[in-house]
């Protein structure tokens, strides 16, 4: 699989085998905006973004710029020792904002750890995004407050959770959708493959949103799959779409197609958003050890934010005022996140025992009791007590 597909070749709609962009091998990428920012018409997918007015386009631009600012700020916080680790999403803003903004509030997201842009679209508290990475918690937020599960670290495990949740939606007779985000590496995991079996067998209202960012830490996507990732879904009887993941309008259109199918009893859809991880896997990674600098340069030319800026410019919308507004908003968000990070209170030692179980547990209660006595022994020179529980 070449890495320059998202920019070149095979993107003209209406060509042979392009019907619906669904089914069939070696399919073209759904694209509505070229890397140069030219809006191209696509009779099938245009209707799905018809409601994206100039104003909403500006808003999508703002989202992407803010998400990038969050990412850059968090990376800086890590470099300054305020965060232990951060998994950047640099380059994937269009995929995450395009999909995130296509969702309804009552849809439920099950993501990996890189979907901070999706979390932003779901309305996450900015401090909550970094709670895990500062080492203050194992999860940043209550999933039910924004209908998004907290980041999953086991690769692909969340795809099954989404499928089960979708089975529950189905049982409840609701028309919401479970949407799961994962990367190209996850497509090799058994859990995703089992999730697709279950989703297809039960025709569950779930969307499998794969961000093919071309790298699973150091492993290129060609090591995960001999065919295009979108084509794998076909074998499960799941319709799939292959979309330019750096084109926010195309991603939104594709996601809406999939959501609409799920809401109307049409079952699951697999979306491969072809994008690129422009940064390292995490701040602990060094991509220069495995990645050609030219490849990064090629993808920089297809930057998703530059693309939407060019589109706005062509439409005469990229005013000084808009740019200043977006910059102010991004700065404010970054400031809020930084303040939230540095003023986050440290957890208490005995917090480690909380919430292991939802009701008392004799093993754990004893260990907590003993450890609290141990801790107290430093503050009490008289030494440990000899009460019953200390035995």
């Amino acid at each position: 699989m070449s890495t320059d597909e998202a920019g070149h070749g095979g993107t003209t709609p209406g060509g042979p085998g392009n019907s619906a962009g669904i089914h069939g091998a070696g399919r073209y990428l759904i694209q509505l905006v070229t890397p140069a920012g030219e809006r191209i018409s696509h009779p099938e997918f245009d209707p799905w973004v018809q409601d994206i007015t100039d104003e909403r386009l500006c808003s999508l631009y703002e989202d992407m710029a803010v998400v990038r600012r969050i990412d850059v700020e968090a990376t800086a916080l890590q470099r300054q020792g305020e965060l232990a680790l951060w998994p950047p999403l640099l380059g994937q803003e269009a995929s995450q904002v395009g999909a995130g903004r296509a969702l309804r509030d009552d849809d439920f997201v099950f993501s990996s750890y890189r979907e901070n842009g999706v979390a932003y679209c779901r309305g996450v508290d900015l401090t909550d995004i970094i709670r895990v990475w500062r080492g203050n918690a194992s999860a940043g937020w209550d999933p039910y407050t924004i209908n998004m599960a907290t980041p999953q670290i086991i690769i692909g495990a969340q795809t099954l959770h989404a499928t089960g949740y979708a089975m529950g939606i189905q049982n409840d007779g609701a028309d919401s959708v479970a949407v799961t985000f994962f990367g190209d590496g996850a497509t090799s995991e058994g859990d995703l493959n089992e999730a697709m079996v279950f989703a297809a067998s039960f025709q569950a209202p779930v969307v499998f949103f794969c961000q093919n960012n071309h790298w699973a830490i150091s492993e290129p996507v060609r090591l995960q799959s001999h065919i295009q990732l979108a084509d794998r879904a076909t074998g499960f009887g799941i319709p799939s779409l292959r979309v330019d993941g750096n084109d926010v309008l195309a991603v939104m259109a594709a996601t809406r197609v999939a959501l609409d199918r799920a809401r109307n009893g049409g079952g699951p859809t697999f979306i491969e958003a072809v994008t690129y991880r422009m940064g390292p896997h995490t701040t602990a990674d060094d991509p220069t050890r495995y990645r050609d600098a030219n490849e990064l340069e090629d993808w920089a030319a297809k930057d998703p934010i530059d693309r939407v800026r060019s589109l706005l410019d062509r439409k005469g919308l990229l005013t000084e005022e808009l740019q200043q507004h977006v910059k102010d908003r991004a700065d404010a968000v970054a400031r809020e996140m930084r303040n939230g990070c540095t003023s986050m209170p440290d957890p208490e030692p005995l917090d480690i025992f909380k919430h292991v179980y939802s009701s008392p547990n004799s093993w754990l209660d004893r260990q907590q009791d003993h450890y609290s006595r141990y801790l107290a022994s430093f503050g009490d020179p008289a030494g440990a007590t000899t009460q019953e529980g200390a035995r």
Partner: protein, 336 residues
Amino acid sequence: MTQMTFARAINAGLRKSLENDPKVILMGEDIGTLGGVFRVTDGLQKDFGKHRVVDTPLAESGIMGTAVGLAYRGYRPVVEIQFDGFIYPAFDQIVSQVAKLHYRTQGAVKMPITVRVPFGGGIGSPEHHSESPEAYFTHTSGLRVVTVSNPQDAYTVIQQAISSDDPVLYFEPKRRYHDKGEVDESVDLATALPMDRARVLAEGTDVTLVAYGPLVKTARDAATAASDEGISIEVIDLRSLAPVDYATVEASVRKTGRLVITHEAGQSGGLGAEVAASITERCFYHLEAAPVRVTGFDIPYPYSKLEMHHLPGLDRILDGVDRALGRPNSLSGLEG
């Protein structure tokens, strides 16, 4: 009181849970139309429908992972793993997700999942059908692990497990499925013995014999046989393997001064080691002899013609009792 088999008692408990809570949903391979390979779920799909008693694809991680998603959605999934040895493909979802989501989300997400696992040997099956994998799960924080030894407990504890907001591994001693016993179906779950408590089945003064699951019956038989020789054995059915009800075991050992624990699972790193260590810590000065373990060996489950050598039987348990009592035994003359 109704007399019923062990398997029928679980079936009745599942039925009651399905009736009482519309969020209870059963999932597993062959549990619907067939009623389970051991018929434990017989008739339930017919009465509650395919959406509440779900025949799933043959993918254990898939079953467990979708159960997690259903729990997220507010359901109480009851998952059947067809045989003990088939649970390993689901291990990651159990250990990394089911067990930890409540902790991870600081209590926001509950995982009221019950995992039913027929376990143990003695039925003449090939490998993967007779294992005792309980220690993998007792070592995993966030899980509750229980097993039952009689139809009444089977009926009561399955309902307690399902109504628990914590995930519960419910191990069913498959070689006892056809044993019959009296079951009081009107039992009040709130006043019944909580599922994390052990039960003293027979009082005794000379030795405390701790067993669980399939070996409880063997242990009781051993106690009866020993009484013919004038040895008084106190038999404890552990019931809960995580957490173990040490208060009950400790009270017994403080009285008898001697402890024998038996299980089918291999010895090293098993429940017996944990019980022996904990009781030794708690009441070392009340022990008259070192705790004795009578267990399966550290071998893969053997071919069925030799399984009786692996499984602790009445005579091996009594040999262990003799060791605890310092009476002549198979290891007499050896150190320790």
